[in-house]
């Protein structure tokens, strides 16, 4: 089973996780820029974080045979902090980078005017840079947040079919699907989705444009949830081709909209002038 986790914050994970993910079949990940638990207080912190997503973290992933891409954005939580919003001015120089496959994650947290501005600004940046967008839906007041998100996207220059709406659940999937977006589901140990509910949604709505992620980060989360969903799908009678579609081909198709996805990493990045770097680590 080959797995592409389209949303996971590897910066917060250990090398044990990388090993276990590879053993479970994960061969590619996308790490969206998000907040770090501890609030940042200046754009300089974002610069170092973005540079890590484009430097150290792909290197670390490559050592375990996993291709790593990222999405870059000012996240909605910190869009409310005037100390952080100047980072919006720095985004254009990041959005041209080869390894950036979307603008994200953007969207709403508390649905404030500052979040409106950051969302609209960054949807425009995605259109300008020919990138798709990863838009998460808020944890609180989710359905209202989804509707407001869809309204803002529809008013933007970015077509809905270049938008992945994430953290969907039973209450939001239908409207997101009807709008024509890509559909993202985060499977968590306690909150968000779980494996069995994910299978039920796939039965009801089909596998088209559905992406499943672990969204694993520094909180209680599980980087192997993608594999567990695959196993649950097989146990529920889905065939292997459908599992492959949801766990590999759909994320490849969505992030492939960027034209920047390179998945032959183990043949290129993991070697330098023909020499393996896999022994590394000081």
């Amino acid at each position: 089973m080959r797995i592409f986790d389209p949303h996971i914050h590897m910066t917060s994970r250990t090398t044990d996780d990388y090993e276990a993910m590879h053993a479970a079949g994960v061969r590619a990940v996308v790490e969206p820029a998000f907040w770090l638990g501890q609030p940042r207080t200046s754009p300089a912190s974002f610069v170092d974080y973005f540079d890590s997503l484009l430097g150290w973290e792909p290197f670390r992933a490559a050592q375990y045979g996993i291709a790593h891409h990222c999405t870059i954005a000012l996240n909605p939580k910190e869009a409310n902090d005037s100390r952080c919003t100047p980072v919006l001015d720095l985004l254009p120089r990041y959005l041209v980078k080869d390894n950036v496959v979307a603008v994200g994650e953007i969207g709403y947290d508390s649905m404030t005017p500052a979040e409106d501005t950051a969302l609209a600004t960054q949807l425009q940046l995605a259109a300008d840079h020919e990138l798709p967008a990863l838009v998460h839906t808020p944890h609180r007041d989710k359905l209202a947040g989804l509707r407001r998100t869809l309204d803002v996207v529809q008013e933007s220059a970015l077509p809905l079919e270049r938008v992945l709406i994430d953290h969907l659940n039973e209450t939001t999937v239908k409207e997101a699907k009807d709008a024509g977006c890509w559909l993202g589901f985060s499977v968590y140990p306690d909150t968000k989705m779980d494996e069995d509910r994910m299978v039920a949604i796939l039965r009801e709505y089909g596998p088209e444009q559905v992406l499943v992620n672990s969204a694993a980060d520094w909180g209680k989360s599980d980087p192997l949830k993608t594999r567990k969903v695959g196993d649950a799908m097989l146990a529920a009678g889905f065939d292997e081709d459908t599992v492959d579609r949801v766990l590999w081909r759909n994320p490849v198709a969505f992030y492939g909209l960027s034209g920047r996805l390179t998945l032959d990493l183990t043949d290129t990045e993991a070697t330098h002038e023909g020499n393996s770097i896999l022994r590394g680590g000081a």
């Binding site: 754009p43 540079d51 254009p92 080869d98 920047r260 330098h272 020499n275 896999l278 022994r279 000081a282």
Partner: protein, 323 residues
């Protein structure tokens, strides 16, 4: 600290040759893109006149000349940032001082960033080198591209240094790369530019870091030339071998290769590459030919009087060797 200016870089491939090979390998679309990018880069030479050729400085103070306000010379900007950082300066002002100013990036620099997806990852390094060369990027420009670059962009900047920077001004970029644990950067940082300019202490530690992180020492340019008669390097290698052995671990085979190169010139001259030249290493203040009281290498427990037993002939792997 410079070692025989240009003698170590005479073996560099000509950029024109690299360009020809790249053109032959690229498809039509990529070749057209490269032509346009090179044209833009060449055009930037005359318009880019406001950037002073200041020595590179790296973090924590960013001294990248502003695109929109080139008159803000780095040397005057940097100390004021340091002095006011603890004051109640607004975050935005601090950000503006520390960070590259937003504004239009020269088109060739955008193309430098996107070379991977335009030419393919396997050709990105060469394409970026061709662009840097076409732009005749100066040290300040190279520093900005390095600081703002992804790991692959940084690799390209490091590889371009011997082609574009005649003196040691860009050494801070090499030193930054050598501080990382990204072996892609460590390997390319030890190219001909480092061979020519890197200080002996830093160079020895870089060689040792290669052994630690598994970077093949074949990546180290001028290895035979710089290692020759370096008894301090020999001591460090011996100590490292002893540490590995004490821990019950194998000694990297490359360690013995380098150790053999530290033998006196009479032992290695016959195998020394022709590119090493006569050199001026005896003039280096840190050269081990001069006795260093802080590093009594002759009496170091990790450095036996005769290093030869550490270096079995024809050894390539270091595995299962008696020490």
């Amino acid at each position: 600290m410079s070692h025989s200016p240009r003698t170590l870089t005479t073996g560099l491939p000509a950029v024109a040759d690299l360009r020809s090979r790249l053109d032959a390998a690229l498809g039509d679309a990529a070749r057209t893109w490269l032509d346009q990018a090179v044209t833009a880069a060449a055009a930037s030479r005359s318009s880019d006149t406001a950037t002073p050729a200041a020595p590179v400085q790296t973090a924590p103070v960013r001294t990248v000349p502003s695109q929109t306000a080139p008159a803000q010379a780095a040397p005057t900007q940097a100390p004021s940032v340091q002095a006011t950082s603890a004051e109640a300066t607004s975050a935005r002002a601090r950000a503006a001082a520390h960070l590259p100013a937003p504004g239009p990036t020269p088109s060739w620099e955008l193309r430098f960033a996107e070379a991977g997806r335009r030419c393919g990852p396997e050709h990105a390094d060469t394409a970026r080198l061709v662009l840097l060369h076409a732009a005749r990027a100066d040290t300040a420009t190279l520093a900005r591209l390095y600081e703002q670059g992804t790991a692959t962009e940084r690799r390209a900047v490091l590889a371009a240094l011997p082609h574009l920077v005649p003196g040691p001004d860009a050494l801070p970029l090499v030193e930054d790369a050598l501080r990382t644990n990204d072996t892609r950067l460590v390997a390319v940082a030890l190219g001909p530019y480092a061979a020519e300019h890197l200080a002996p202490h830093d160079w020895r530690h870089a060689v040792l870091k290669c052994l630690f992180t598994g970077v093949p020492v074949d990546a180290v340019a001028g290895l035979a030339h710089r290692a020759r008669a370096d008894t301090e390097l020999a001591r460090m290698l011996g100590d490292y071998a002893a540490e590995r052995t004490a821990a019950g671990r194998t000694v990297p085979g490359d360690l013995y290769r380098v150790l053999a190169l530290t033998d006196p010139p009479t032992a290695t001259d016959a195998h020394a590459p022709a590119t090493t030249g006569p050199g001026d290493r005896a003039a280096s203040p840190d050269h081990p030919a001069v006795a260093d009281p802080d590093h009594p290498s002759a009496t170091s427990p990790g450095r036996p009087a005769a290093p030869v037993p550490l270096a079995p002939p024809s050894m390539s792997t270091g595995e299962d060797q008696e020490y």
